[in-house]
Amino acid sequence: MKVKPKPPSAALQPQPAARGEIDQAIEALTEEHTERIEQTALNRIYRIGRAANGRSHDDLIQEALTRILDGKRQWYKDRVLFPDFLIGAIYSIASEWAGHRERNAEDPEYAALEAALSKTDEEGKTTSPFDGLQDPSVNPEQGLITAEEEEEKRALVEEILTAFKDDEKASIILMGFEDGMGVPEIRAEFQMSEKEYRTTMRRIRWRVGKMMGEHHGR
């Protein structure tokens, strides 16, 4: 007699972690884990810039955990380690914040007032930030903010590259990143050993982190 195979019972189906298990996972975080979580959150806040809208890297970490707790992001503990899952949530929420800003660029919560952006020159003449904008189809306020951000980003990139101008390996890696090259590609193209690459990356992470921190008033 053939026995019809039974579907797996509900008990065998993977279940998202319960709150108690999330609590245990928090307690089990090592120094390596928390360092990685903190550095990732900082990096993402620097990366999204004004889209953070006043929110800090702590806010980002808290939001990630809240979404895991309320089940908007379900952690299956047999599939991925908690620190990696939390970092994934941090990354994704930062992208979501950036996307929200892109879609709502004209929203007052992101827009700056003309008055706040007006400047007075050496002769005491006040110039509107909208002066000189040529494309009437572009919202002048938004156009200005975009131009300002572009300038800000350009200055930051230049600052980073200048900081490493005497460090050939770091310059090579950074320019590779700028060109969208992956790590194996960079290492292969410039015949960099794993050790050389890692040593250089440590220098880059440290210095860029310091610069970004200063830029964000940390």
């Binding site: 884990h33 550095q39 955990l65 300038e151 980003k153 790590v183």
Partner: protein, 148 residues
Amino acid sequence: MAAKAGNQAERFARILDSLCEDIRTAPGEELLQSANEAGRDPALTNARVKSLLRSTFKAYQQRVLREARHEYERELANISEGHFDLPKTARGRRSWFLAALNQAPQLLPAFTLQNRDLSDLSDEDIESHLRKLAQLGVLKAIRLPEEE
């Protein structure tokens, strides 16, 4: 390998994204050494991040409890507000009771557990049962006959 002009935000984003990927994949020991070199104490970071996560966890639990309590209070209020003016006559009340069971026959066993026929129920039993049905909100959900 010249730096691309034009899209400065994109240049910046690529550098930061690559650094983030490195943070994600760098050996843990290296991250700790970097922290020490930068004058940060990984033990303090550990305590701070854990404390942040614990307080988020606690705040979330308290929010869930608050919401559950509010929900419970809302339910209680709904039940206590389930006040019904029952028909004044015993016949009218019996008519309501039978209408309720007719429209919600799944309730029938609850009222005939003692092998009693519905016709055996006293007027007092029926009034008491109707009050329970009102409190449970059942009467709100059914069509009741007009009182004669």
